[in-house]
């Protein structure tokens, strides 16, 4: 079953959660005596004068933009990239199949709530609050998507899932230019959280962490940013730039082409892959540090030759417009676009490499300084493909040794499989996988999960 809506169809309404009311008597009482600055105050005369769009928490109407949670495919994959992202990898602490099942059901419940919004349950003041309160007393979705993926390690001997492992899913191994930091790699589970605002993404992360103390241990995390998406009405969407100053995503696969997505992104339950995978996709994350000071000291011409595009317009070298397609057949010696230019190696545009393409959904990141006092920033590459071996791995193997490597250093990330979507109220993350794996062969409880 395919869908023309790249965000996934929404045949059922989300479960109602919370009391859905921002203006309970309790909230009004709490609002008394708090200064007009605080989120969550009752609407006041001053607030209406100050804010032409009065809203119970002081949030603008866009706060209630929401993405559909239910569907054949998970949200956050073909969803147009929101401006804030958090990628968080976890080790699963569950020691039994029952607990893993409980984890998946719990995550389903939390994510369904977070993506639709509502009011978290109130508790007495003597208890820690159920919610971090970052978004105020009422959760607004801010276009939140949460996407859940599993790593190869989940298919080890702990949960009896080995026979159902996606055929191409392996633990990421290093490429020649990599300097992988074990503390920023891999994981049993990856959660990708995106929203129109960083606080909404952080709120979701903290919610998931708070609800899973005995089931998940945070392994690594990287947040990322992009310019805010233009409002739907403004038409043309400009390709965002990465921190090397180049437009990033010009030649990306087109998410609105359902046939291409079905072929190169989504698993359709054929090609030797276990049937439970249908509707999911392989997800690669790469934390790629960029040596920005050194790049900024590189002549513009060299930058452009390394990438293969003009910096200002994004046009392939020798062509005029960003979306012009280079004709490599007419440039066999690389006089126009060098044979080892980044775009040419990544996509040689030959018949042989036609299946070796991916859907990229990257973010920029910034994380402080290095021991040498240089800036630690780079690309948080996220990409999706129906075949990990033909997709990212083949592409990176072509890129090995490219001149760009002088300026980049992959330091973390991992290979994962983004689960099929949650389709209805009876469904939950990983249900098809757990059902396919059948009952656990013995009643042994596995040894402590690895640190």
């Amino acid at each position: 079953m395919t869908t023309d809506d790249p965000r996934g169809s929404c045949p059922y309404k989300p479960l109602p959660t919370g009391d859905g009311q921002g203006l309970s008597r309790r909230n009004l009482l709490k609002g008394v005596g708090v200064t007009g600055l605080a989120l969550g105050t009752a609407p006041s005369v001053e607030a209406r004068i100050r804010d032409p769009h009065p809203h119970p928490n002081g949030h603008p109407p866009e706060a209630d933009n929401a993405q559909p949670f239910w569907g054949r495919h998970q949200p956050g994959i073909l969803t147009p990239p929101q401006s804030a992202a958090v990628l968080a990898a976890f080790d699963v602490l569950a020691t039994s199949r029952e607990d893993l099942d409980r984890l998946f059901r719990l995550l389903t419940q939390r994510v369904a709530f977070l993506m639709s919004g509502g009011t978290p349950p109130a508790a007495a003041d003597t208890f820690p609050p159920a919610d971090s309160g970052i978004l105020g007393p009422r959760i607004h979705p801010f276009n939140l998507t949460v996407t859940l993926a599993v790593g190869a390690s989940l298919f080890d001997d702990r949960f009896g899932l080995a026979a159902e492992k996606p055929r191409h899913l392996i633990t990421m191994s290093d490429f020649p230019n990599d300097a992988l930091d074990a503390e920023r790699c891999h994981g049993d589970i990856l959660v990708q959280i995106c929203a129109d605002r960083a606080d909404a993404a952080i709120h979701a992360l903290r919610d998931l962490v708070k609800h899973t103390p005995d089931l998940l241990a945070l392994r690594w995390m990287q947040d990322g940013f992009l310019p805010p998406r233009p409002a739907a009405s403004s038409g043309k969407r400009e390709t965002p730039r990465n921190l090397l100053g180049f437009k990033d995503g010009t030649a990306n696969l087109d998410a609105s082409h359902a046939k291409v997505m079905d072929d190169l992104v989504w698993i359709r339950g054929q090609g030797g892959e276990p049937a439970w995978m249908a509707g999911g996709t392989y997800q690669v994350v790469r934390i790629i540090r960029q040596f920005v000071e050194s790049w900024d000291r590189t002549p513009l011409q060299e930058q452009e030759e390394i990438i293969g595009r003009q910096k200002e317009t994004g046009a392939p070298l020798g062509l005029r417009h960003e979306t012009d397609i280079p004709n490599y057949a007419s440039d066999p010696k690389g006089g126009k676009i060098a044979l080892d230019a980044h775009i040419r190696l990544a996509n040689p545009r030959t018949a042989e490499t036609a299946r070796s393409r991916i859907y990229r959904r990257p973010y920029n990141y910034m994380r402080g300084t290095t021991a040498a006092g240089q800036l630690d920033m780079g690309l948080l590459l996220v990409c999706f493909q129906s075949n990990l071996t033909e997709g990212f791995i083949a592409i990176q193997n072509r890129l090995n040794g490219e001149p760009l490597e002088e300026y980049i250093k992959p330091v973390g990330g991992g290979y994962f499989f983004a689960l099929p979507g949650v389709q209805n109220a009876g469904d939950y993350y990983g249900r098809a996988l757990l059902e396919a794996a059948g009952p656990v062969p013995s009643t042994r409880v596995s040894a402590n999960p690895k640190a």
Binding site: D181, T370, A371, G373, Q374, G401
Partner: protein
């Protein structure tokens, strides 16, 4: 004179009185013939350094294979000087560079990775494990690799852009890792490597100086001045045997004092190609 120079491509811009926003002169018209001597002199320099690299590496290898820990430790730092001086050329052969100079950081399994070889693998054995045990295969591989490096350099037509850009590349290395003492973390001989990178960059600058001075005398003078500042601080850590103190001895104050001139050198040297009109 060995015919080793390939013709650089030039913009054909006339020397202009215009300055860019950063105070740099617009590309000068440097004739191809003007670069022939500096490039060929540079290749002679590199081959000279490679020969010493080989003879000093042999001393290290001999001490390792003889099981003489003290002699091996004493012989560790010196060959690296001759590698780090010529790094822009050595790095053109990335497979060899990886075998010879890779650090444990680059591997997820760190020191346990099978691809951790070369100088730093031997350094790890000599200074962290404090033994020559098991190092013979790495020593044999290293001396073979430096001989291979020499053959490849002899056959290489040195690209002018790599020479001119090499000065900047060496200082980028310093700014990125040498200044933090990450390079020789077991032996703490980082200051030898730091100084060697600076030597290598300075050599390129000296060979090009007549051209640089003609094109932009202020740039050349600034580069001279920053090299002098860096060298003065490093010299204060020199030891009697022609080497340097342990990196641990570098004070925070001196490390901070080095960062300004090192970064300024990186900026100025990154303008050499443009200043000399090289594409």
């Amino acid at each position: 004179m060995p015919s080793i120079v390939s013709q650089p491509r030039f913009a054909g811009l006339a020397l202009a009185a215009l300055l860019t926003g950063g105070g740099y002169a617009v590309a000068a018209k440097v004739a191809p013939a003007d670069l022939v001597a500096p490039i060929s002199d540079y290749k002679i320099y590199v081959l000279g350094e490679v020969d010493i690299l080989i003879s000093e590496t042999q001393k290290l290898v001999d001490a390792v294979k003889a099981g003489d820990l003290a002699a091996a430790q004493a012989a560790y730092a010196r060959p690296r000087v001759h590698y780090e001086r010529i790094e822009p050329i050595a790095e053109l052969f990335s497979d060899l560079d990886k075998k010879i100079d890779v650090r444990a950081d680059d591997f997820e399994k760190k020191e346990a990775d099978a691809h951790f070889t070369g100088f730093h693998r031997i350094e790890y054995g000599l200074f962290a494990k404090k033994s020559t045990e098991g190092l013979t295969p790495f020593a044999d591989a290293l001396i073979a690799d430096v001989h291979e490096l020499k053959s490849r350099i002899e056959a290489l037509t040195v690209p002018p852009v790599k020479v001119v850009g090499g000065a900047a590349a060496l200082i980028e290395e310093v700014a990125k890792t040498k200044i933090t003492g990450e390079e020789d973390r077991y032996s703490r001989t980082d200051l030898w490597d730091f100084s060697a990178n600076v030597d290598g960059a300075k050599k390129i600058h000296e060979l090009l100086k007549p051209l640089t001075v003609a094109a932009d005398p202020k740039l050349s003078a600034r580069i001279d001045s920053n090299f002098a500042k860096v060298t003065a601080i490093l010299t204060s850590y020199a030891t009697a045997n022609g080497g340097f103190e342990s990196y641990e001895k570098l004070t925070k104050k001196d490390r901070t004092a080095l960062r300004g001139p090192v970064t300024a050198l990186a900026e100025d040297l990154s303008h050499l190609r443009g200043t000399l009109g090289l594409k």
